[in-house]
């Protein structure tokens, strides 16, 4: 990350517990509001951070209270970059197939409900609602999920 961006990066570290996710949402919502996003987009960003944090607790750490979640955001000219970090097991969202029948193909509701996979729904939201999603994992730095939302200038002021 360029040093010039550091001053604008905000960081929050919370214990990996479900009750802390609300703080993560509030932190991101406040930053997104400052960045000029509309209420609907702020809702989407909260949802993505909620789902990503839930996946960290469920899959990377495997349980509550195992490790911390670090979340940061930075506002750049054309986008809002969110980074979630943890030190649990690598959990590549890219390995999780999207839920079936999302495309609107007629699948019996029972089947749709049956085929839901843990994590799949949340990742589907992340993939759909964010403009860029990248995941990296290494032993030294832990897991890093980067999600970018573009600031569309033609929307709200």
């Amino acid at each position: 990350m360029a040093s010039g961006d550091m001053a604008r990066e905000q960081v929050l570290v919370v214990p990996g517990r479900y009750k802390e996710i609300k703080r993560i949402c509030e932190f991101i919502a406040a930053g997104a509001a400052d960045a000029g996003f509309d209420a609907n987009t702020i809702f989407h960003l909260e949802l993505c951070c909620d789902e990503a944090s839930t996946n960290i607790i469920e899959h990377a750490y495997g349980d509550e209270g195992v490790g911390d979640i670090a979340i940061s955001y930075a506002v750049e000219d054309d986008g809002f970059t969110i980074v979630l970090r943890d030190t649990g097991q690598a959990f590549d969202p890219g390995d999780v197939p999207p839920p079936p029948a999302i495309s609107g193909t007629a699948m019996p509701a029972d089947e749709l409900a049956d085929q839901m996979r843990i994590g799949g729904l949340g990742l589907h939201f992340i993939r759909n609602l964010m403009d860029e999603v990248t995941y990296t994992a290494d032993r030294r730095h832990g897991n890093r999920l980067v999600m970018v939302k573009k600031l569309h200038k033609d929307g709200d002021p």
Binding site: Y18, K22, P99, A113, G122, F125, N128
Partner: protein, 118 residues
């Protein structure tokens, strides 16, 4: 933030209302309420989301799970009062086709009174 329930008059339908964010803090309470009704054989359910301001995948899973149990008991689970944001979330994962969703909870109440099986 709360979950409440009421038996709709002149019907066997129970309405469960949610106020606040349907997230990790509220979903367990909703799950408990729905399961208690289902376990007692009340399988005609309406979930009023008029005052729900947020939902995540856990909230969706809770509703799908209750829907399946209701259906297994030859019942129904209808949703009503979703705001545009919630509707968008349901549609994004195809759940708008799983659930019967009524815009207006008054309609859901009326249908329950008339014994309409949605």
């Amino acid at each position: 933030m709360s979950v409440w329930q009421e038996k709709l008059p002149q019907s066997n339908t129970w309405l469960i209302g949610i106020s606040g964010r349907l997230d990790q803090s509220l979903t367990p309470k909703l799950e408990e309420t729905l399961n208690a009704l289902l376990d007692n054989g009340h399988v005609a359910l309406v979930v009023d989301l008029t005052h729900a301001t947020y939902i995540n995948s856990g909230g969706l899973r809770c509703l799908v799970s209750a829907w399946r149990k209701a259906k297994a008991g030859d019942g129904t689970l209808t949703l009503c009062g979703l705001n545009n944001r919630l509707q968008e979330i349901f549609a994004m994962v195809g759940f708008d086709k799983v659930f019967t969703i009524l815009d207006d909870c008054a309609t859901a109440r009326g249908q329950a009174r008339q014994g309409v099986r949605s």
